[in-house]
């Protein structure tokens, strides 16, 4: 049963991905949102595998959004190129900032990333001439002119790319390095792993992904404002999704994103006043009863008796 699990998941995953193509703009719009959060959740997970907790997702997301919009408006770049620019900008900032900040650990690193995100937001908020200030900026044209099907398709391709990167991370040398750092940094150092280099790589790549996600979002909705592009939900919700789904894996955040995303929408439709109370209760209950997330429960249910796990 264990061996067949990845294939079952893959089949389910493909089904879920294709379904919106046949279901109309509403489902596609929900799908785009779910996939955006999914990408953020996966990218956050990639960094937490090293033990480094980032609260800066919203910061890089907003940075990428603005980089994309500014490159289109001020430099007339093509939408897809702008997403690349956003990734480069976010990654570049992460590289520069990370070289100084990655020496921190635990909550100190987390608070610093949070503070950095806020600083990006404030700079953009105050820099009226370039960024439009608190009112934000409009894109003259939406990607695909707002047509939901190609928009959804673009997000699907992006998601598959990120999943591929995450799996590469897991299968390659980087995985061992990151996990070693997480388990015991002193031991890792003594085996000769250049901790700093691997942390920097992970931080830069995940920030680039988060920036590109922000760019994609801006292209799909056609505007950026400091409040909406740097919203704290872009940090907290992907975290909750990754935890619910199961950390330290690729499919955990994917499942968590789909479950929380769909659940959130469902609750809203049937409990118009007060759905967020139920949403919060579900997060609490899942964390109490499924501490290793959904993937953890599945692992436990399908564990071969007597044989080791993972």
């Amino acid at each position: 049963m264990r061996k067949k699990l990845p294939y079952i998941f893959m089949a389910l995953g493909i089904l879920l991905l294709i379904l919106p193509f046949f279901s109309g703009p509403y489902v596609q719009s929900i799908g785009r949102t779910v996939i955006t959060y999914m990408i953020l959740a996966i990218s956050w997970d990639m960094l937490i595998r090293s033990g480094q907790l980032s609260f800066g997702i919203a910061g890089f997301f907003g940075l990428g959004s603005y980089a994309a919009v500014l490159s289109v408006v001020n430099l007339s770049f093509n939408p897809f190129l702008s997403m690349l620019i956003a990734a480069v900008v976010a990654g570049g900032v992460a590289f520069l900032v990370g070289s100084i900040v990655l020496r921190l650990r635990g909550m100190y690193f987390a608070i610093t990333t949070l503070a950095l995100g806020e600083i990006f937001k404030i700079i953009i908020h105050n820099w009226h001439d370039v960024t439009g200030g608190p009112n934000g900026k409009l894109l003259p044209k939406l990607a695909f002119d707002g047509d939901s099907v190609p928009s959804y398709a673009m997000m699907v391709i992006f998601a598959l790319l990120v999943i591929a990167i995450s799996e590469y991370f897991r299968k390659s040398k980087i995985h061992y390095a990151l996990t070693a750092i997480r388990d015991n940094e002193i031991v890792a150092k003594s085996t000769g792993i250049n901790i700093y280099k691997y942390l920097l790589i992970a931080f830069t790549i995940t920030a680039a992904i988060q920036g590109a996600a922000g760019a994609g979002f801006a292209q799909l909705y056609g505007f950026v404002t400091p409040e909406s592009s740097f919203n704290a939900n872009y940090t907290l919700i992907p975290l909750a999704m990754a935890l619910l789904g199961g950390m330290y894996s690729t499919w955990g955040p994917v499942i968590g994103a789909v479950v929380l995303g769909v659940l959130g929408e469902f609750l809203k439709l049937y409990i118009p006043y007060g759905h967020l109370v139920v949403y919060g209760l579900i997060i609490i209950l899942v964390l109490l009863f499924m501490p290793r997330g959904i993937v953890g429960v599945v692992n436990r249910l399908t564990a071969d008796k007597g044989v080791g796990n993972e």
Binding site: T112, A115, L287, L288, P291
Partner: protein, 307 residues
């Protein structure tokens, strides 16, 4: 050892010189700075207590303050009490509410990874703020009190003096907490648990009871703060979020586990913010000073410790 003394003397010297400078040029700056510092310190101390001993980041910290504020509001209005008096029943109710929240949720995740506790408290925060939103609507409320506008003047400049209640509250909190942690049996046990939970368990300390008591004490302090909060600020269901973040940042800046440093850290932040706000056009950059200082202190502490 010698280095530390030099830094201390230099620090105090700079502080005294700047204080005199400000008193002469722009006295309200110091006044407002100290008042702001008091607000930050008073709300950060309970979080520092919980983070330092139970080692959990309570993302519902600000929301608990919000609940306390609403409790105080309704107690004041129903029984025609001054909110500062309502602080006593509010503190007591929050003490037990803290035990309830701790026992039903956080307690069960203590053995789980730290992140679970973080997101769990995020869920609690959501439940608290959305429930209050359902019950009280999102329309802000405030109790109007005369003494809140008490003022004094230096020369031509008038300024509010009521807000000194916040630094006073912060110092009272600190004194209570230091006495509790250093002189009482439970407090000393808690300090031991904070430093080494497993060791404390082996020695026979009831770790679970300690955690519960600490969380309850922190909740009671939040309750008292909430009652004072509503005398100065309007309350609405989302009011807590910003204070969670500020407390967290301040605790990180002071060093996790270090309560007295919170006073120093908040003074630096409060006065710096006050300074930036006094510059025309400075309002937009004030939060930047806040976050910038925090990063600076955290980083410099990290650089220093590597030497």
């Amino acid at each position: 050892m010698i280095n530390k003394k030099i830094y201390l003397i230099a620090g105090i010297g700079i502080a005294v010189i700047s204080a005199v400078f400000f008193m002469l040029t722009n006295p309200t700056l110091l006044v407002y700075g100290v008042q702001r510092a008091g607000i930050y310190a008073a709300i950060a101390l309970p979080m520092a207590l919980v983070l330092g001993i139970v080692h959990i980041v309570n993302l519902a910290h600000g929301e608990m303050m919000m609940v306390a504020a609403y409790l105080s509001y309704f107690i004041s209005r129903t029984f025609d009490l001054d909110p500062l008096l309502a602080a006593i029943p509010t503190g007591i109710i929050m003490f037990f509410l803290g035990i309830f929240i701790f026992k039903t949720t956080i307690y069960h995740t203590l053995k789980a990874p730290e992140l679970n506790q973080l997101i769990l408290t995020f869920g609690v925060a959501m439940v608290l703020s959305q429930t209050i939103n359902l019950m009280a609507t999102s329309q802000p409320r405030k109790i109007s009190l005369d003494y809140v506008s008490a003022s004094a003047s230096i020369g031509e400049v008038s300024f509010g003096i009521y807000d000194f209640i916040f630094p006073a509250l912060a110092i009272i909190f600190l004194i209570i907490l230091m006495y509790f942690l250093k002189k009482t049996r439970i407090g000393k046990a808690a300090t031991a648990v904070g430093q080494n939970p497993r060791g404390a368990l082996i020695v026979g300390i009831n770790v679970d009871l300690t955690y519960t008591v600490i969380f309850a004490v922190a909740s009671a302090l939040i309750g008292i703060f909430g009652s004072v909060f509503i005398t100065k600020f309007s309350i609405f269901p989302a009011v807590g979020g910003a204070y969670t973040m500020k407390s967290f940042a301040l605790v990180a800046m002071a060093g996790i586990g270090n309560l007295p440093k919170i006073i120093t850290a908040s003074l630096i932040l409060g006065i710096a913010e006050s300074f930036v706000m006094s510059i025309p056009g400075g309002a937009g950059w004030t939060p930047m000073i806040f976050f910038g200082l925090i990063i600076f202190v955290i980083l410099s502490r990290s650089f220093r410790s590597k030497h």
